[in-house]
């Protein structure tokens, strides 16, 4: 099938318009971050006449973003570790063993995966209060782990299903116990899917604000997204600073995305197909 040049050009033109729609709002954010504050009021939508990093510096220091980055990083890494280990174990059990109650567990996971998050918020408050896990990053990590586990168990399970059973049997014959089979065989074979899980959980914890907002109160424990919410609360009339804070909150994930595009895209899409 031959395509006329005019068709190629018009197709690219159309896709470029779509590109503007997808990326334009983000471009606006970048532009307003570097636009001088005075200009913002007179020309909020136009191109800046000069560039400044004052807003960025002000947002970083006044918002105490350094601490928030550390908190988000800690929460992200810890959640990733918990989800990978306990989720890996669970997925292994579901993929490689036949046992009574397997279907019940699968149905249970499917149910918990589709429970709307608001459904268990109020009782969770009281459980957390009584366990003294309120206003602590550890408490938040446990919440995230519990919420993200079902989806990731499905994701891991569907990958493990593809590993031939004979491989496991031969390892058992070689004298490996069950844990060793998992650690020495499954884990090295499943590096790509664990990377996907890590990326997804990392992205979600970085952007999550609903639970972080409800369960963290101290300023010094806030994660990046709730830091941004609080920042908007106290500086909302200063759009330049709020833009800068938005850019600061977004940039790390965007950079990570640019480097690991394929893993992100495949992880998110395949995850939802197989999950």
């Amino acid at each position: 099938m031959k395509t006329k040049p005019i068709e190629v050009v018009s197709r690219h033109f159309f896709l470029f318009c779509v590109f503007l729609f997808a990326v334009g709002p983000l471009f606006l954010l970048v532009m307003n971050t570097f636009k001088p504050k005075e200009e913002f009021l007179t020309n909020p939508m136009g191109l800046p006449s000069s560039l400044t990093i004052d807003n960025l510096i002000a947002a970083w220091t006044e918002g105490a973003y350094g601490q928030a980055f550390l908190n988000s990083l800690l929460v992200g890494v810890a959640t990733i570790i918990i989800v990978c280990i306990s989720g890996g174990f669970a997925a292994y059990a579901l993929a490689k063993y036949d046992f009574k109650g397997q279907n019940t567990i699968m149905a249970f996971l499917l149910l918990t995966m589709s429970v709307p998050m608001g459904l268990f918020l109020v009782p969770l408050f009281y459980v957390w209060q009584n366990l003294h896990l309120m206003d602590s990053l550890f408490g938040l990590i446990i919440i995230y782990s519990g919420i993200f586990l079902p989806f990731n168990i499905f994701l891991l399970r569907s990958f493990f299903l593809g590993i031939p059973k004979e491989l496991l049997e031969s390892a058992r014959v070689d004298g490996c116990n069950e844990l060793q089979v998992f650690m020495k065989l499954i884990v090295p074979l499943s590096k790509p899917v664990f990377l996907t899980v890590a990326l997804l959980v990392g992205l979600w914890t970085w952007n999550e604000f609903f639970f972080a907002n409800a369960f963290i109160q101290s300023d010094e424990l806030r994660t990046v997204s709730t830091k941004y919410l609080a920042f908007v609360g106290s500086f909302s009339s200063d759009w330049s600073k709020v833009s800068a804070a938005g850019l600061i909150s977004t940039l790390p994930m965007v950079v990570l995305y640019l480097f690991l595009q394929r893993q992100f895209i495949e992880g998110l899409t395949e995850g939802s197909i197989k999950g």
């Binding site: 990326v23 983000l26 306990s86 567990i105 899409t269 197909i273």
Partner: protein, 306 residues
């Protein structure tokens, strides 16, 4: 039979059953940490919600058991039905606009030789940006005194839409933002499926003299059916739980034009001091999304995705 043999037999059986028991325990041991976490965070509190929904708890006083009174109140609560109606509108928007848009764009992208990766990654990018930040950006764009409308009026457009201020369109304005984030994800799903379509069928159709629309309609679309059905299910489930953008951008207003069940529940629980009633709303919501999953489950069993 000598008694020795009986004893040996018994020993073997005990050993075997012990081994079986041990063997049966292994998957549960592997499952236990994850199950514990899920029970603690999701399942346990969900049951708590079920119990709370049978009380008149106001967040302060001792809760009192009132049976199904909350559910009766729910059935005569116009705010709940307004929110439910908005949820269905929201679902109707998401089951059509972003899917069709993503389908068209994915088809176009699949026909592009150069820059396919570029388009794919940039269309997917909004998915990476956090809700709170993108909601704020769009709130600026929609701001009637500072945003897009100031530019439009400068260009000579009058009667510009009052994006978030007009109750007739506010829900669509917010849906546009959520759709802006969401469609790129669908595009990638469809694009992947397009790459797996059978190219020889297309070529055969060209030979037969079919035009482009016919090829798309009769040759390509049927091959995308499993993907599209899956997308439809995901979209229905997710759109029922929609919360973030409404919460950040309009808080349900103007009036209750953008109120969804999720935001209504949140308000009842934390602002109106009736977590008991809010729990019954949450449960009604869970039942409705349960029905959707159930229906799709049946459809899947009947082989709709073949």
């Amino acid at each position: 039979m000598s008694s020795d043999l009986v004893i040996i037999n018994e020993v073997i059986q005990i050993k075997r059953s012990r081994r079986n028991w041990k063997k049966a325990m292994i998957p549960w041991l592997f499952l236990s940490p994850a199950l514990f976490l899920i029970l603690l965070v999701v399942a346990g509190p969900t049951i708590g919600t079920l119990i709370l929904s049978l009380t008149d708890w106001d967040g302060i006083q001792q809760p009192k058991f009132i049976g199904i009174e909350n559910y009766q109140a729910l059935l005569s609560d116009p705010n709940f039905f307004a929110a439910l109606g908005n949820n269905f509108k929201w679902m109707a928007i998401f089951c059509t606009v972003p899917i069709i848009f993503a389908l068209i764009i994915a088809y176009m992208v699949s026909k592009v030789k150069r820059g396919q990766m570029f388009y794919r990654s940039s269309f997917f990018l909004p998915q990476i940006v956090s809700t709170v930040v993108s909601a704020k950006i769009w709130a600026w764009i929609y701001n009637p005194f500072m945003g897009l409308n100031t530019v439009l009026t400068k260009w000579g457009f009058h009667n510009v839409p009052m994006w978030l201020g007009d109750p007739a369109i506010a829900l669509f304005s917010v849906a546009l933002v959520d759709g802006w984030r969401y469609w790129g994800f669908l595009m990638v799903l469809i694009l992947t499926a397009l790459h797996q379509t059978d190219k020889s069928l297309e070529e055969a159709a060209v030979v037969e003299g079919a035009n482009k629309v016919q090829i798309f309609w009769y040759v390509i679309l049927p091959q995308l059916r499993p993907t599209l059905m899956l997308i439809l299910m995901l979209t229905m489930i997710w759109s029922f739980a929609a919360f973030d953008y409404v919460f950040v951008m309009t808080n349900g207003g103007p009036g209750n034009a953008t109120e969804l069940i999720s935001t209504y529940m949140y308000k009842e629980a934390l602002q109106n001091q009736s977590p008991g009633y809010a729990s019954s709303i949450a449960l009604a919501m869970a039942v409705l999304s349960g029905i959707i999953i159930f229906v799709f489950g049946i459809l899947k069993k009947k082989g709709w995705d073949m």
